[in-house]
Every structure is written in structure tokens, then in C-alpha cells.
Amino acid sequence: MAAREMTGAEIVVKALIDQGVEVIFGYPGGAVLPIYDALFKQNDIEHILVRHEQGAVHAAEGYARSTGKPGVVLVTSGPGATNAVTGLTDALMDSIPLVCLTGQVATHLIGTDAFQECDTVGITRPCTKHNWLVNSADELARVMHESFHVATHGRPGPVVIDIPKNVQFQTAEYRTPAQVSHKTYRPQVKGDMSAINRAVDLIAAAKKPVFYTGGGVINSGPMASQLLRQFVKLTGYPITSTLMGLGAYPAADPQWLGMLGMHGTYEANNAMHDSDLIICVGARFDDRVTGRLDAFAPHSKKIHIDIDASSINKNVHVDVPIIGDCAHVLEDMIRVWKSKVSQPDKSALSTWWKQIETWRGRKSLAYVKSDTSIKPQYAVERLYELTKDRKTFITTEVGQHQMWAAQHYHFEEPNRWMTSGGLGTMGYGLPAAIGTQVAHRDALVIDIAGEASILMNMQEMSTAVQFMLPVKIFILNNEYMGMVRQWQELLHGGRYSHSYSEALPDFVKLAEAYGGHGIRATHPDELDAKIMEMIETPGPVIFDCVVEKMENCFPMIPSGAAHNEMILGDDPEGATVTEAGKMLV
């Protein structure tokens, strides 16, 4: 019997349901009306109506990052698609699995500069893992299912399916996911055993080893975090992580050195610099992490586990590359480690830990406390203390507050920390919090924000109110684009060119205008009570935390410097920026 013919729009919705999609983030328009009509007629998929398409993509990212499932976006042609571009680029840089459906003008109009036509596949080609223009409804089911496969397999990433309006009306036969398999895309997940063997030998022989882990461990799934913990415990070695990898290893554990990189801890960066072996798991030797390349960990051998072969030897030459999924490779490593009855070099390790403890003793995250003004670090510390025992998810915007959040909020679990790492997108945090809250209705979801960043996607407060998503926006309000101001102080003689916001809104009134609740704290003494008030408020809250304006974020490796040339908070003269460093971002 021939299967029932469906319209393209129905095929889209049916494919989403069959892929297990429960929620999509979107914004309607002429070129997607048939799909919206098909959504209207069903109850399996919830649609969250955002207020800007960039918000839809970041919300889908928050959803994906906090659940491990792909996020789904639906936007119209032309401006709907171009508004999504920042979010897609963000997801590509941070390897977040997304399926973004865009409407397109009818096939016979493509190329005529029709109303709301744009070359969506052309524009999004460099900012997606892959994209498709669907020319007929016959291809639609296949492309839909393939797109989920591509987005979620190998190194995850965003994909775009551009669907002309006439294709949404055409009828065709539906095919289930089981009837579709991608012709060629089969990324390698098992690591090469001989490389794993060599790696285990190096790990056992190391005298000053360090684990350097990243977002790949989170992307690989909760099993990878479990295996990482197991292996790190077996070896007794120190571990640090990138911004994207926070939570894969519990921050409360004594082997945890804190985050590394430009605003990483003294102990993490020095351990990297002095190490004789770096075991990189799902991280990519990015410039925020390595600092000056020719001075990066000069005496170390390097093992690099990555699912993406193009990450290997891209910035830093490694001795043992292992291409595969973190969980699979870690599992094999643990097995080989046990079968070889490997033992770390106890005496070397104890010397190494002694050295690390002296670095730790430097207390690089310490800051000068104040009785009169709220220090931003103090605000994050208090927020952490008052929320750590709940099921809490943290998102951030981009700037100093993001780094303070990474330094002073501590994560014990993966998937609890959503931040824009690779692209550094101001405006990410609020929509990401919304997407996270959609996935975890009962959790406490807090966007640690800056007053400048939050204004970039402030409109999404309206989404939070409409869908009763009780996100908490915790603004560290220093009235400055603090991170820009800090660089201007360090690099441009304190000439604060356009980094001060002359006219900020009254955030308490703004919250009320949106139908949320506004809170302001200006004094350290009132902070705890106000944070409690925020937590206990059932709906969305904007918390205007008025903080010290001129505070700088330390420690800091200035651009172009090495890991052991950090600027510390209590010794800001400690390092200088070279002329070559000024050229870098």
C-alpha cells in the first residue's frame, strides 16, 4: 500500500516529531506560514515564540547545551534568516547541535530578488556545519532526518534547511528516520588502539602531568564526564579545563585547579606551562588558552583526544593525536591503564603537587573586599553560596561578568553552564537562559549579565513573561563595557573611548514594564536578602546589582604573553603588553 501523501509542511512537522523534538524556538513570517499552519494542527511539539530570531537560536543553544539534545529553530526567509546568522556562528564555534529551518521564496522566484529573498544557503554556508536547499517535497523527509544525523554526530554543530514556500505546499511521501541513512557521513568515534596504548605509557611515565579538558567532554555526554572523573582519580593527576568545559570535572575536588587561559588561575596556567605532559581531552588549543604560541608549555609532550581531525595540530603540534569521541577513548584508556597495571610515579607526583600547592597558595582569584560597595566577585560568590544547593543552571553574557562567573561560580556537574566561548556573543545569556528553562522548568536558571550585554537581547524578557519562564537576570552593573574599559586601561592609556553607557535604563522599571519583577542592590549588606528575594520570586526577575565600576578582572594573561607571565590582581604591574600583543584580540 502506498503511504499517504503529505504536504511538505506536514512532512517537516512529522519528521520533527519522529526525531523526538519536543520544543522549537521560532518566529513566523510569510515564507514559513504553511509550516506554522501545520504546527497549529498538532499538540506534540511546543513552539516558543521569541522576540528576535537571534534569540531563537541562542535559546535553542541553551536548550541543547543543558540537555544534550539538538535544539530546533524555525524562522522565515530574508531577515528571519539573516537575524539567525549570529546564533548559527555562535553554535558553530562552540559545537552546539542545532537544526535551523528557514523559509525561502518559491523555487521559481529564487534568484529574482523577490520580496524577502536572500541567499540563505550562501550566507550560512560558512557558519553551519552543513546546509541544504530543498528543491522538492520528495527530498524533504530525507533531508530532515539527515540534518539531525549531521548536527548530532561527529563534532556537533548547527545545520540549516532552507525550504521554499512552494515545497511546503507540494505533496510527497513521508519516510521515517529508519528509512533514511546518510550516504557518507560516518565520523570516527573509536580511537586508534595503538595510539591509546602509547598515550597510556606516556601518562604513566609522566612526572609533571596535567589534564587539559574542554567542551568536547560535555558534548560527548554525561558518560564522558563520568569516565573523565574515573581516569583522573586513577592517576591522581591535576586537572584544568577551558571555559567551555566547566562542570565536566567537579570544582570541589582537590585535583581541580580551576579554569585555565587568559583569565584562568595561577595554578592552572603555571601547571600547563611547567608540565612535561598535557593530556588534552576535547579541547582545541584555542588562543584564549595557549597565550603566546611559541612559549606555550615549552617542555611538554602532548596527547590530544578530539573527534574532529582538523583540530589536531591546528595551532599546536601534538605528539599523540587520538581521533575519536571522548567517552569511547577514555573508556579504552582506562581499560588499558588497568590492564597494564600502570602506576604513576609517586615521588615525582608528590613533588609536582607540592609545586602546584605553592602556586595555589598565591590565591590568584583573591580580590580586595569592600564594606561600602559591592565587588562584582563578591556578588558572584554570594550568588554561588545561596544557590549551590539547588538545581541551578548558569548562563552568561560576554565581558568581565562572564569571567567572574567562570572564576567564582563553581560547577559540580556537566551541562549546568552555558556561555558563549568561541564567538563571545554579547546577548547570548538571556535567550540561552530561556532555552535552558524551557528544558528544565523547575530548575533555577540565572543569566549572570552585564548591563551592556543584556540590552542586546533584552526583548526576550517578553518571551520569558509570555511562557512563564522564571529566569533570573543577575546584572553586574558597572555602567561600563567593563571588559572593553579594562583593555583600554591596560592598552590604550586609560582613554575610555565609547565604553561608558551614558544613558542606561532603570532596570527595575524595565522589569516591571515587561511584566516581571525588578530588584536593585547597591550595598553589600543587603545583597544576601535581595538574592533570596530573587530566588523566591516565582516569575522572571531582573536584578540590578550595582557594583564597583572600575574593578578589573584578574588574573589575566595579556594578549601575546606566555602562561607564566600573568598579571595578578594584587600586582597589576606584574606584566606588560608587548607591541606584538597589542595586535591581537
Partner: protein
């Protein structure tokens, strides 16, 4: 690292013959700042819908390895072979070369074309079009010689390359 010498490599890339695949490959080169010295593409298997792209590029060994890994990462790419490393391989390019002139120069052009085994594929009383095939260096040499003999136009296919011996790519 950056002190390493730049080398020329010829890569063969087998891809699905689908819309936009060439744009993906070219976009990757321009977006990441890699060189393209020459690029050719055509369908090689109609039933399988596969095309073969030959790219001649240059870079340090680390850059070449990156280019290969980045190409392999593209979803419609089946296979990438570095023919310069996986040698021995043979390389060919074809050019059509139009030379205009009369008298001594015309005779000399025809004489040289013979030495290069170029074929005359069009002729008028005042011009020839030669078809010449060979390595890029041979074509460079031929075109160079024609320059003094009334060269007016030249078009080249770019290199194609294939490994020697009985094995497939």
C-alpha cells in the same frame, strides 16, 4: 613552525555532485586563507553522482595537513588524497593557445608547436589555435615561447592528477 618551507601539493577530492559543493570547497580555502593555485572539477561517476576536484595548493606541511583535514570534514566530501605525498602520480594540464601573425613568426610558431606536440585545432591565414597538453611547467614553457611570436589569448584547464599503478584513489 611558521619558518617551515611552503610546498606545492596536489589534492584529489572526491565529492557528492550536489549543488553548492564547489562553493563549499572554494569558500573553505578563501575563508581560512589557504592558496588555490589551480582547481578543476567535473563529474566522474554519473550513476554515483560523484565529482572529482583536483586542487593544487601550497603551504607548510602543517597547513597542508590542515587543508586536508578541513576538506575531509565537509559533509559531501567522500575522500581526500594528497597525490604529492601518496605519489608517484602523473599530472596533466591542457591549454588552448591562440597565436596571430604572418611570415617568419607564423612559421616559427608552427615549428615550435610541433616540438611540444601541440595540435593545431583552428587556423586562419593570420592565426592558429594550438591545443597543448602536459605538465603545468611544459605549458608555461610553451606559452612563454609563443609570447614573442604573436600570442593573443590563452586558456588553461588547471591540473588534473592521478596516482600511478593499478589502485583506485
Amino acid at each position: 613552525m611558521s619558518e617551515e618551507k611552503s610546498e606545492r601539493h596536489v589534492l584529489a577530492v572526491l565529492v557528492d555532485n550536489e549543488a553548492g559543493v564547489l562553493a563549499r570547497v572554494v569558500g573553505l580555502f578563501s575563508g581560512r586563507g589557504y592558496n588555490i593555485e589551480s582547481l578543476t572539477v567535473a563529474e566522474v561517476d554519473h550513476a554515483e553522482h560523484t565529482s572529482r576536484i583536483t586542487v593544487a595548493t601550497s603551504g607548510t606541511p602543517m597547513v597542508i595537513a590542515q587543508i586536508k583535514a578541513q576538506l575531509e570534514r565537509l559533509v559531501p566530501v567522500h575522500k581526500v588524497v594528497d597525490l604529492t605525498v601518496q605519489a608517484p602520480s602523473v599530472e596533466r594540464e591542457m591549454a588552448l593557445v591562440k597565436v596571430a601573425g604572418t611570415g617568419e613568426k607564423r612559421v616559427e610558431a608552427l615549428r615550435l608547436s610541433d616540438a611540444f606536440r601541440a595540435r593545431v585545432i583552428d587556423t586562419t591565414h593570420t592565426s592558429f589555435i594550438f591545443e597543448v597538453t602536459g605538465t603545468p611547467e611544459k605549458i608555461d614553457a610553451f606559452v612563454g615561447l609563443m609570447r614573442g611570436l604573436g600570442l593573443v589569448d590563452v586558456t588553461r584547464t588547471g591540473v588534473v592528477s592521478i596516482a600511478r599503478g593499478p589502485e583506485a584513489m
